[in-house]
Structures are given as structure tokens and as C-alpha cells.
Symmetry: C2
């Protein structure tokens, strides 16, 4: 086997793995798009009924559950927790934006201190 | 409709949305477990053939592709890019750990300057 053969084999194996990674990333992007559709609905529900954007008890349950799922899938539970916190931070940012939007008939404008 | 009815309806709607979010999170955790299986293989391949752990050209292509996919899925492309960078940082950490491990027959030990 020549060095060139080894290079071609390594390149082919790398390409094969990267194609799988790209397929998984596309799936994750679409799953997260669907997740944000759900959390946007949660945000509107919370804003409409004056519920706070963050919910620490719910988040603690989510983290415990995901760490457990990660362990059984042989994914680092600490990474799963960091990832969920990263996504939740984005969700809370969305919820705050939704809460800042005036509801129909509400004379307050976004940016008024009472709306923030 | 009483206040209690509204509360029950809001609670039921919130529970319904949260069940979907939990299902999606479980799917994402399992997709990412599979993704790390692929990147671990990439890491071993790179370590074996002395390829660098990071690959800026590949990462630039991945980011451009994911931003495009995110746009078509109505997910914030900036969020998709931040998320990919977050995952890639973890992958590079794994690759560096793999590169630090001595290969069979390699007298160097992890921690030796030449191995880092």
C-alpha cells in the first residue's frame, strides 16, 4: 500500500464520517426549529397570563432528566446540561421579547420601564 | 368561564407544549450522542495520521450550510451558528484529549510537551 493509497483511504473515511455529521446537524437544526415553535407558544401563553419568563423548578427537572438521558446514550451529562442551559438562555431572551411587546389595547410601548 | 377554568386550560396547554419540548430534547440528546460517536472516530483518524484537531475551512463550510438550513427552517441563523460553535468547541476538546493519548507502541506519555 502506497502513501497515496493511505491518504485516499483516510480521506474517504473522513468524508464518510463528515457526511453523517452533516446529516445529524441538519436533523438537529430542524428539531430545534420545532422546539422554538413550542417555546414561542409558551412565551405567548406566559405573557398573556402574566407568568414569569423563567421557571427555575421546571428547568431543574429538565436538567435532571436530560442528564439521565445523556448517561444512557453515553453522552457526557455535563455537556448535555451546558447545552440545555445554552438553549434555555435563548428561550428566555425570546420570552422577554414577547413580554415586552404591547398586547392589543395595551397603551404601553416596548422600552417603557414598566414593560421591561 | 371562571378564573379556575382559565387556569386549568392554561395549565393543560402549557403541559402539552412542555411534553413536546421534552420529546424534542430527548431526540436532540440522542442525535448528539450519535454525532459525538462520529466525531470520536474523526478524532482517532486525525490523531493516527497526525492531522490537526481543528479544521477552520471545514468549520466555515459547516457554518455557512447550517445558517442556510436554519433560515429555511425559520430558526435564527445567528443562534444556529452559536450552537454549532458551542458543539465544535466540545469536539475539539475531545480531539485534543485523543491526540494526547499515547498510541500503542508510542513511548511518549500524555502530558509530555511533544504530545500536547
Amino acid at each position: 500500500m502506497t502513501t497515496r493509497d493511505i491518504d485516499d483511504n483516510v480521506r474517504a473515511e473522513l468524508d464518510r464520517l463528515r457526511e453523517s455529521i452533516d446529516n445529524i446537524d441538519a436533523a438537529v437544526v430542524h428539531m430545534l426549529a420545532e422546539r422554538f415553535k413550542c417555546t414561542q407558544q409558551v412565551g405567548h401563553l406566559k405573557a398573556e397570563h402574566q407568568l414569569p419568563p423563567a421557571d427555575p423548578a421546571r428547568e431543574a427537572r429538565q436538567i435532571a432528566r436530560l442528564r439521565h438521558l445523556a448517561e444512557s446514550a453515553k453522552l457526557d451529562p455535563a455537556f448535555a446540561e451546558k447545552l440545555l442551559n445554552f438553549i434555555i438562555a435563548e428561550v428566555i431572551r425570546h420570552h422577554e421579547q414577547i413580554a415586552d411587546q404591547p398586547t392589543p389595547g395595551d397603551p404601553r410601548r416596548p422600552g417603557d420601564p414598566a414593560v421591561r
